[in-house]
């Protein structure tokens, strides 16, 4: 349960960070779609909370994914330049895709 709360909290934090950068994202045609996709991908993973009963902090993947998610959130909060933004969004998307795959494997 704690791991679910932690991971979901980190996803909520990522969504909050992304939402706070709406103005920045919307001024750049290259960043905007990736920003929109990352934001909604956060939701896609976060709302599968009902399937997360088996998620455990004991999983080696969990700690790694959690740390990367926190790192991506922090990075997104501070980066300003277009290239950094794209890199950070790409990083966040990769972590979300990993969490998605991990969840599928754990609940299969």
């Amino acid at each position: 349960m704690t791991s679910k709360t932690q991971l979901l909290g980190a996803l909520a934090s990522l969504a909050q960070t992304l939402a706070a950068r709406t103005d920045d994202a919307s001024h750049d045609d290259a960043v905007f779609p990736r920003w929109f996709g990352t934001l909604n991908a956060c939701n896609a993973v976060a709302r599968r909370a009902g399937d997360w009963e088996n998620l455990s902090v004991e999983s080696p993947n969990y700690t790694d994914l959690f740390n990367r998610l926190v790192q991506a959130t922090n990075w997104l909060a501070i980066v300003r330049s277009r290239n950094d933004w794209l890199d950070a969004l790409g990083e966040a998307n990769m972590v979300i895709a990993d969490i998605d795959a991990l969840l599928k494997a754990m609940t299969a």
Partner: protein, 346 residues
């Protein structure tokens, strides 16, 4: 006879008072748990209803954004084919979702009915609700009605005495006291007091059995609190994204060429304002609910502690017990004194 009654009363008093206020405290604590539990269950149900409404609104939005986002399970693009110069409604189908999953490019977005996902949490709430209802039933169970039975019996005796007098031709063959006779009233007061003690002891016995049979209730309450905090995070993400999406729609509408109609622009801004306001308002709900659940868990722990044979009372409980004991001692002396005085006069 009078002397014997006085002597018995003097021995009786300390025996009845010993521990009887503790049972009253136990029942008070149980009443507190039942009341807090009822409030918490109602608040949690109400909150989950709001979670379901928010989730449904978000689902409808995804389905409306792109016809390829299918109900039940959509495959959301990490990088939607979104252009800032084009209104979202003018984007081609498939800009946000794909018909089938693409590894590394899409993520599964469940769009099932929110009610289905909330079922496990709602079932857990039902279980807790039953537990609180059982506590309520025990603490509100009316005690025995011996006092009323005695008055009824006296009425029967009086009728019989009147009838016997009529048959024998005398005024009365038996002097049955009236209901408002001082002796009757004082004895009834004492009986009522003793009945109350017996009823309390019975309630405590039933409460002990209930908490023993529902040993996992405390864990269930903590689990419920945790589960609701997870729903809050999920709701929060839904709310953040709904607001951000509405903001993104404004961006696309403003940059679109030709520009969106005035009504469309106004409606988009209205949506954005409404969602931003709802996001602030709804964020207040969970902290209040969480506080209620925390108070409930504390109350249940306190009740379970005080229900033990020789409880280790905390400072609040010790203070309350002292208050109850003082009141009870006064009530017991009143009841006993009433009997002694009434029979001394007689």
């Amino acid at each position: 006879m009078k002397h014997a009654l006085r002597t018995a009363s003097l021995w009786f008093l300390p025996l009845t008072l010993a521990g009887c206020a503790l049972n009253q405290l136990r029942i008070e604590e149980a009443t507190d748990v039942a009341a807090k539990g009822k409030i918490a269950v109602a608040a949690a149900r109400d909150y989950l209803g709001k979670v379901a409404t928010a989730r449904e609104a978000m689902n409808l939005e995804y389905v409306g954004l792109d016809p390829v986002c299918k109900p039940d399970m959509a495959h959301l693009r990490f990088e939607p084919e979104l252009k800032t110069g084009v209104e979202i409604k003018a984007l081609p189908p498939g800009w946000l979702c794909t018909p089938v999953p693409i590894p590394g490019e899409t993520v599964e977005l469940p769009l099932g009915p929110p009610a289905r996902e909330l079922q496990p949490t709602l079932r857990m709430l039902e279980g807790l609700s039953t537990y609180f209802a059982a506590i309520t039933q025990i603490v509100e169970e009316p005690g025995p009605t011996t006092s009323a039975d005695i008055l009824e019996t006296l009425a029967v005796f009086r009728s019989a005495a009147t009838l016997a007098g009529a048959v024998s031709g005398t005024d009365s063959v038996l002097d049955v006291p009236k209901d408002d006779d001082g002796r009757v009233k004082s004895v009834l007061s004492l009986i009522t007091f003793l009945e109350m003690l017996r009823t309390e002891a019975e309630k405590v016995k039933n409460l002990r059995k209930l908490v023993a049979d529902n040993d996992e209730a405390g864990t269930l309450m903590s689990d419920m609190r945790n589960r609701l905090s997870i729903w809050e995070l999920a709701r929060k993400v839904d709310a953040i994204i709904r607001t951000a999406n509405s903001r993104a729609m404004i961006e696309t509408a403003w940059k679109a060429g030709p520009p969106a109609a005035a009504e469309v622009r106004q409606q988009l801004v209205r949506n954005y304002y409404a969602r931003a306001a709802a996001q602030i308002d709804d964020a207040k709900l969970f902290p209040a609910l969480d506080g209620t659940l925390e108070a409930l868990i504390d109350a249940d722990t306190a009740m379970r502690n005080v229900l033990q044979e020789n409880p280790n009372l905390d400072a609040r409980q010790r203070t309350r017990l002292a208050q109850l004991t003082r009141k009870r001692v006064a009530a017991a002396f009143d009841a006993l004194a009433g009997v002694l005085i009434a029979f001394a006069k007689g």
